[in-house]
């Protein structure tokens, strides 16, 4: 079966017309507190800051701070959306719906946090709204071991 790749990024389809999407990438899993699993929409994950004119960013999630940078992707990525037309849309009486992929955006950069988080206070609070998966936290090397 053939699936057409459509692009509605504008009349003249210039590359610049394609809306740019963004990616924030970090190690591990962002895991909301159990009580928030059912109410994720609009829930704040963290705060992203650009402290200086360099492309260095910090992401604060609960009591943890990640430091990362904005990096251009080696190859761009397209965001495609699967659209299924019902046969009725096209006045066709037979056949199953036609599937189409629509280009909805392009990604050229990502803000990448590849380091382990730094704790903002010495003792992690179990009440933090959002926290990194324990694997990340637990594996932070401890120098105090005697």
């Amino acid at each position: 079966m053939e699936i057409r790749v459509r692009c509605n990024c504008g009349e003249d389809k210039e590359e610049g017309r394609c809306k740019e999407w963004a990616i924030v990438e970090l190690q591990g899993v962002v895991e909301p507190q159990p009580g928030f699993h059912d109410s994720l929409p609009n829930l704040q994950i963290g705060t992203l800051c650009r402290p200086s004119s360099q492309e260095v960013y910090t992401l604060t999630i609960g009591y943890h701070e990640l430091t990362g940078s904005k990096v251009p992707l080696k190859k761009p990525m397209m965001v495609l959306k699967k659209v299924k037309h019902s046969p009725l849309d096209r006045g066709e009486s037979s056949g199953c719906g036609e599937i189409e992929l629509q280009v909805v955006g392009i990604i050229r950069h990502r803000i990448l946090f590849k380091n382990r988080p730094k704790a903002l206070i010495s003792k992690p609070q179990p009440t933090s709204k959002e926290r990194q998966k324990s694997i990340m936290l637990g594996s932070v090397p401890s120098n105090q071991a005697l």
Binding site: M1, E2, I3, R4, V5, R6, C7, C9, K13, E14, E15, C18, K19, E20, W21, A22, I23, V24, E25, L26, Q27, G28, V29, V30, L40, P41, N42, L43, Q44, I45, G46, T47, L48, C49, R50, P51, S52, S53, Y57, L59, L73, K75, P76, M77, M78, V79, L80, K81, K82, V83, L101, V103, V104, G105, I107, H109, R110, I111
Partner: protein, 390 residues
């Protein structure tokens, strides 16, 4: 706290942060798995093809993306990182959620996360899968009898394929499909792509050559109109007459309006070699005699022309030849080598080369192919290497 303008909600806010500013990263009101959103990594070179809608996906055995000239396999590459995908403002319909206005983000610039991407699709260039093309077209080749009966038999529709049918069945780009059809010497008759039965093709070619002798035509400048009208009088369809010139000749560009064709020595000679060896193996001498006899006088055939068409073997003091055409072999390397080594357990390079030089595997050189599929033995540097199955 100052409330920000709404346009600062979305990917733009994040991509164009001014120094010293902050953005709140939050779950999008419509956050969810969004399996219909696919992230596809692709080369900058392919970007224009996608933006100008020159790409199609073809999902038969597996999903491939075809540009006009190339075929790419699509491969999912997963990641263990959390990849938060953030759409630009107003692209992901915010207003599906009316209570959105009442939320508490007005104090900050917000980058809403629509989904956590489990990975992305990657493209790997692959050779087109054209083997099926021959199989499809062999179901109902065009024969002499078809044009004998004046009535069109509705039954003959079975096993016929038009361009669209082929595109739906073959995972290849337009250009690759077109060159595949050309390599098979297929012809479009009444909008169906057909192979022409070899015996029928032979009749047409012999008729062209006979007429060339009778009318004193030069085989390097056959006038298309003359040839076609002559063949039509002899009862051959015009499109097959033209097809014959395409298959065995090259158009001569001479600046005049007349359309002239030069018959290609190699293609004509190979045609007759195949015809002669259709009956089975022959002694080399008798094959050469018959070959010289059947090919036109100005095309003296030499044995190097049948590289990749004919295998020789020595039996005692005699050399025998038999037909073994590279065009009859599968185009995937694994299947090709398996058949070659079934045919002969050991190959010398000069014999093997004509049977593998057409193999096209993106990213793999012919040395790479040999390393992967053969075992090379060379007892001493002076002796030619021998290739056997791995």
């Amino acid at each position: 706290m100052e409330s920000q303008e709404t346009s600062s909600i979305g990917a733009e806010a994040l991509l164009h942060m001014s120094p010293g500013s902050a953005v709140s990263v939050a779950y999008h009101p419509l956050f969810g798995p969004h399996d219909d959103l696919i992230v596809l990594e692709l080369d900058d070179k392919l970007l224009p093809d996608v933006l100008h809608e020159r790409c199609v996906l073809n999902s038969q055995l597996f999903v491939v993306l075809c540009t006009q000239s190339k075929t790419f396999a699509m491969k999912f590459v997963g990641t263990s990182n959390s990849v938060l995908l953030i759409p630009p403002a107003n692209q992901y319909v915010f207003d599906q959620n009316p209570q959105n206005g009442a939320n508490n983000h007005k104090e900050k610039v917000v980058a809403p996360v629509i989904k956590v991407v489990p990975g992305n699709m990657e493209l790997v260039e692959v050779a087109p899968r054209l083997d099926k093309l021959k199989l499809l077209l062999s179901q109902n080749p065009c024969r002499l009898e078809e044009f004998d009966s004046s009535e069109v038999n509705p039954e003959t529709r079975a096993g016929l394929y038009n361009w669209k049918d082929l595109k739906n069945n073959i995972q290849a780009s337009d250009e690759e499909l077109r060159s595949g059809l050309q390599a098979l010497s297929a012809v479009e008759i009444n909008s169906y792509w057909r192979l022409v039965d070899e015996r029928y093709m032979n009749m047409i070619l012999e008729m062209v050559l006979r007429n060339a002798v009778l009318n004193d035509w030069s085989l390097s400048a056959l006038n298309e109109d003359e040839v076609v009208s002559m063949l039509v009088t002899d009862g051959f369809p015009a499109e097959l007459a033209r097809h014959c010139l395409h298959v065995y000749g090259e158009k001569v560009i001479d600046g005049t309006d007349t359309c002239a064709w030069k018959l290609d020595k190699k293609r004509v000679c190979i045609h007759f070699a195949r015809e002669i060896l259709r009956g089975g193996k022959m002694k080399l001498e008798s094959f050469m005699d018959e070959w010289r006899q059947r090919t036109p006088d100005e095309m003296q055939p030499t044995f190097d022309l049948v590289e990749g068409e004919v295998l020789t073997e020595r039996i005692g003091v005699e050399t025998w030849v038999r037909g073994f055409s590279v065009s009859s072999l599968p185009s995937t390397p694994a299947e090709r080598f398996s058949i070659l080594f079934k045919e002969r357990p050991k190959w010398e390079w000069k014999d093997l080369q004509p049977y593998i030089r057409d193999l096209n595997v993106p990213g793999l050189t012919s040395e790479g192919l040999l390393l992967k599929y053969t075992r090379r033995t060379q007892p001493s540097p002076e002796i030619e290497p021998i290739f056997s199955a791995r």
